[in-house]
């Protein structure tokens, strides 16, 4: 019996640690939605791209995924700026339907580009912490990779939350989220904030991707799943609620790992989506939603 409890506890802890990352990628979607009103269907695919970039760096230069963070984060920030400048800026001025076409087009380009370059196999990248296990008391032990993911993901997630709540940029973000035109009239440079936030959203994926390369096995088509996970936290947290999104990430992580532990296989994989459907039925305004 003690064994069962510690296994369950281990799964909860593992879920919480994954949840830090789900919250982080969900925060990216929530922030971009708050300032631009658009949802990027290729969100998860950019994260999958970051993971494959990591794989390429590891194969070519034997670079540890944790070190390739110093490449992927700036690279994805610049990529975000460029994408925004050349594609998304125009679609925002046109109509929202174009975002669908544009981002679905990107989904196909990224997923199949990755498929053509890296092949259809499941891959993962080892890092130097892969075999490290951190014991906490005699009840349970945590793999080092999960711990790093949790610490970095959690710190960045709550750091961003602090940024949104307590800095000038954050006030601008919240002003734009409430009323774009009024914010513009009050002297907020809306276009600049939108571009910056979009780039930060993509850079977050450049951060999350490498952290997970040793935990998740990647395959070319799994980007859409990540997009959905981000979207689930977006809805679960109560649309546009930054703190809610972060918390929802942890809930999603725990339900996912509990589903895997107790149901396993395909039923287990369906659990996060089932939770999402139940949420839409019973708490459509999210866990922290008030209306």
């Amino acid at each position: 019996m003690k064994m069962d409890v510690s296994v369950a506890l281990g799964a909860v802890i593992q879920g919480v640690m994954m949840g830090a990352i789900y919250g982080l990628i969900g925060l990216g979607i929530t922030m971009v939605f708050a300032v631009t009103g658009m949802l990027n269907f290729a969100h998860g695919d950019f994260m999958s791209l970051a993971m494959y970039l990591c794989l390429a760096l590891h194969t070519a230069f034997n670079l540890d995924p944790y070190l390739s963070l110093f490449v992927t984060v700036p690279a994805f920030f610049v990529l975000g700026l460029l994408l925004y400048h050349f594609f998304f800026r125009r679609t925002l001025k046109a109509e929202i339907l174009m975002v669908v076409q544009l981002t679905l087009g990107m989904v196909f380009i990224i997923e199949n580009g990755v498929l053509m370059v890296f092949g259809p196999d499941y891959r993962s990248v080892p890092n130097f912490l892969l075999t490290t296990v951190v014991s906490m008391g005699d009840m349970f032990a945590v793999r080092g990779t999960y711990l790093v993911t949790f610490l970095v993901g959690g710190a960045v997630g709550f750091g961003l939350y602090w940024l949104i709540e307590s800095t000038d940029l954050g006030r601008q973000i919240r002003a734009i989220a409430q009323d774009r035109e009024a914010a513009q009239l009050m002297g907020v440079n809306v276009a600049r904030v939108q571009m910056l936030i979009f780039a930060i959203g993509i850079a977050l994926l450049g951060l999350a991707g490498p952290l997970l390369t040793s935990i998740l096995t990647m395959e070319p088509y799994f980007g859409l799943h990540l997009t959905l996970f981000a979207f689930i936290t977006f809805v679960m947290g109560g649309v546009g609620n930054f703190l809610g999104t972060l918390i929802a990430g942890y809930i999603l992580g725990v339900t996912e790992s509990m589903g895997m532990l107790y149901l396993g296989g395909y039923y287990g994989a369906a659990v996060p989506y089932a939770i999402f459907v139940l949420l839409l039925i019973f708490r459509p305004h999210g866990i922290l939603g008030t209306k």
């Binding site: 580009g113 994989a269 369906a270």
Partner: protein, 317 residues
């Protein structure tokens, strides 16, 4: 006219491979038109259609394999199930009043849930190994020895879907839908039952798609959850529709005819997995940069401008 005549006469002379390819292209014109009714006319971008295809495919196949009920009858069970799924899921989403585009992503959640549960329920769906129908050519069981027969059925389906789209675009229903697409709140304010009409559009689209699912299974005599519940399939439909023009009668036809033959040729001659899908993505992003509403509206605008210019040139004279 010549094109139409060609469509009717050519298949008996072509090789089986090409007949099959063109049958698939016609089927995609049909599915894309069906998607366009909810996604284009009513402006409700969504990813539900894999579930409808699966409903059609599995209902007819399971009823036939277990109870020897002809797919001609079984497919109507599929239609009923598809409508129930579509209307049920859409109703849940409308009730939640999520922001724009969330409807689409929520649909994707339903689809992944369907895919995993479908794959897990191996004793029903055959899991990843799927179900294979034993070939026995018998028109009563919607199985034909001649591929050309499938081709003609697909031709009828595709023409029927286009005709239905044409009728809807000129009916009261079509006007309500375009009002909903244009401005949901305004449509609601003038008394359009926005939820009701969107659910109706969803029901029409779901039933058509399910019939296509049954036909697809009878054509290939095989189905598994990965083939039926394919997100790639529905994204292809959306991209075909986007290139042709969302909410236009001919958009799905033009978009599918433009992209799918290129894709099939690439699959045949270059045989790099994923290349054709990547190309779809590149073409879509290129096309929307100069024709944001798709090719059909772009061409109509162009023709109108030309006529306008010609008319102006004549007037002074």
């Amino acid at each position: 006219m010549i094109l139409l005549l060609g469509l009717v006469l050519v298949p008996p002379r072509a090789s089986v491979f090409w007949v099959h390819t063109f049958t698939m292209i016609l089927l995609f014109i049909y599915w894309t038109s069906a998607w366009n009714i909810i996604g284009g006319f009513a402006g409700e971008i969504n990813f539900y259609h894999p579930l409808f295809i699966a409903a059609g495919a599995y209902s007819s196949t399971l009823l036939f394999m277990n109870y020897r009920i002809s797919p001609w009858i079984g497919m109507w069970v599929g239609v009923a199930i598809a409508v129930a799924i579509g209307v049920g899921c859409a109703w849940i989403c409308y009730r939640a009043r999520l922001p724009h585009l969330s409807f689409a992503l929520a649909a994707m959640g339903f689809v992944y849930m369907g895919l995993y549960i479908g794959t897990a329920m191996e004793w029903v769906t055959g899991g990843t190994r799927g179900l294979t129908l034993r070939p026995a050519s018998d028109p009563a069981n919607m199985m034909f020895g001649d591929k050309a027969t499938y081709y003609y059925i697909a031709l009828v389906l595709a023409s029927g879907a286009v005709a239905l789209s044409w009728w809807i675009s000129r009916s009261r229903l079509g006007y309500y839908m375009s009002a909903i697409r244009g401005n949901l709140l305004a449509a609601e304010a003038v008394g359009v039952n926005t939820v009701g009409y969107r659910l109706l559009a969803m029901a029409i689209s779901a039933s058509l798609t399910a019939i296509g699912g049954t036909f697809y299974t009878q054509l290939n005599l095989f189905i598994n959850p990965q083939v039926a519940v394919s997100i790639t399939g529905v994204i292809s439909m959306i991209l075909f529709c986007a290139i042709g023009g969302f909410g236009t009668v001919w958009g799905p036809v033009v978009g599918t005819l433009l992209l799918m033959p290129i894709g099939e040729l690439l699959r045949l001659y270059v045989a790099v997995p994923g290349l054709h899908l990547m190309l779809y993505g590149i073409i879509v992003i290129t096309v929307i940069s100069f024709a944001p509403h798709g090719l059909v509206p772009w061409f109509q605008d162009y023709a109108a401008r030309k006529r306008g210019a010609a008319g102006q040139a004549k007037e002074p004279g």
